[in-house]
Symmetry: C2
Subunit: 202 residues, 2 copies
DNA sequence: TCCTTAACACGGAACGGTCAGTCTCGCCTA
DNA sequence: TAGGCGAGACTGACCGTTCCGTGTTAAGGA
């Protein structure tokens, strides 16, 4: 723990002293993305990030509980907000996951996302940060959408939410990590189509 | 590189001196699996494996070009041969991937496979070992099978082999790494069913 | 309103402990 | 006699923590 009473990522302002520098935080995240792309997860080092960002290691540990959590944060900053899906079921499902595709297709987003996923799978705090984001930005809206589609008899009712999530996210994560092939435009739309065919009513 | 002229994992027998000890190799792989399950990928250390196996680090580097490659080898040893799929297309596809499910459901196979996947995604040599195994045991037979099914008009012809592979492997890998949920019996059969519905002819 | 003072963030540097990868030793085996 | 083996030394790098000196901010008294 860095500060005993307060979560490091949400500093309180009801106290004396200077505020935490958002400039330092941004420099650290920038440096972290470069280091992630260059060195992978096991070769990633806090010392290098600190040196590259001209920051102190203590500043890093003030903001994040672990380096894995920092890596996930650095990657999440690359992911844009979900667009409006319109009315078509396929487009609405695609809209939920296409921000991942967009991030994977920009600059070294592919490598940064890979390291963040490795961190989330390997580091406790990083996994919590990642699953919190997925839960809020993907799983929860997906649950609402699937309930609506099931109600309209567009899809069957006998689905397991987490199985669907795995079917939608698994392929792109596999591509980012194991196969390392580029993520084609329209990749996520294909997953949405596949899901609808799998779970089509009747 | 450990030995300049010879691939470490395939020692030549056309020379003087003792053979490499398969007993030591087995002890190292056993110890590696325990360490993988306990410490994850970033926390995994060669020193610990050597000490646990009562082996010398030099022996480890004689057998494997990198620790990642050793982790992948340790996990591959848990994966049984594919069963005979019979005549049903769904069963034949399931048969290709169900060895992964079987391995994930035994002892600490879940954790060992997770670390092997992280190694394959993070370490160059480990990735090559992993992709070589997938290519030989899954991708190649899958290609033959899909060609046959397409010929019989069971599935459409406009598929990309690697996209199918990603759709079949992605979900179980996601479950092993990110969500860490147990792999239910029948999980792989569900993926095969989903694939057939997605690519059904007509 | 001004000024002191306490609290704390910052960069930088150092610490003890761990690890990777290489090397050397003495022993043993084919 | 070439070479595998366990054991251990070694260098350089890294982790997580701690300390330092400097600077910045808010609270509270004059």
């Amino acid at each position: 723990m860095t500060t005993p009473t307060e979560t490091p990522s949400t500093p309180s302002r009801s106290r004396k002293g200077p505020t935490r520098s958002e400039v330092s935080k941004a420099a650290i995240l920038d440096a972290a993305r470069d280091e992630m792309a260059e060195n992978g997860w096991r070769g990633f080092s806090v010392d290098s990030v600190a040196k590259r960002a001209s920051a102190s290691k203590q500043t890093i540990y003030r903001w994040w509980p672990s380096i894995g959590a920092m890596c996930v944060d650095a990657a999440l900053a690359l992911i844009p907000d979900a667009p409006d899906g319109g009315r078509d079921p396929q487009e609405r499902i695609t809209a939920l996951i296409i921000p991942l595709e967009a991030a994977a297709r920009t600059g070294h987003g592919h490598a940064v996302l890979r390291v963040a996923l490795l961190a989330a799978a390997d580091d406790k705090e990083a996994g919590e940060v990642w699953r919190a984001w997925v839960g809020r930005d993907i799983r929860q809206p997906l649950r609402m959408l699937l309930a609506e589609l099931a109600g309209k008899r567009v899809i069957r009712r006998d689905f397991e939410l987490d199985d669907v999530l795995e079917q939608l996210l698994g392929p792109i994560f596999h591509r980012l990590t194991i196969s390392r092939a580029p993520v084609k435009e329209g990749f996520c739309a294909e997953q949405a189509t596949a899901f609808l065919r799998t779970y089509a009513a009747f």
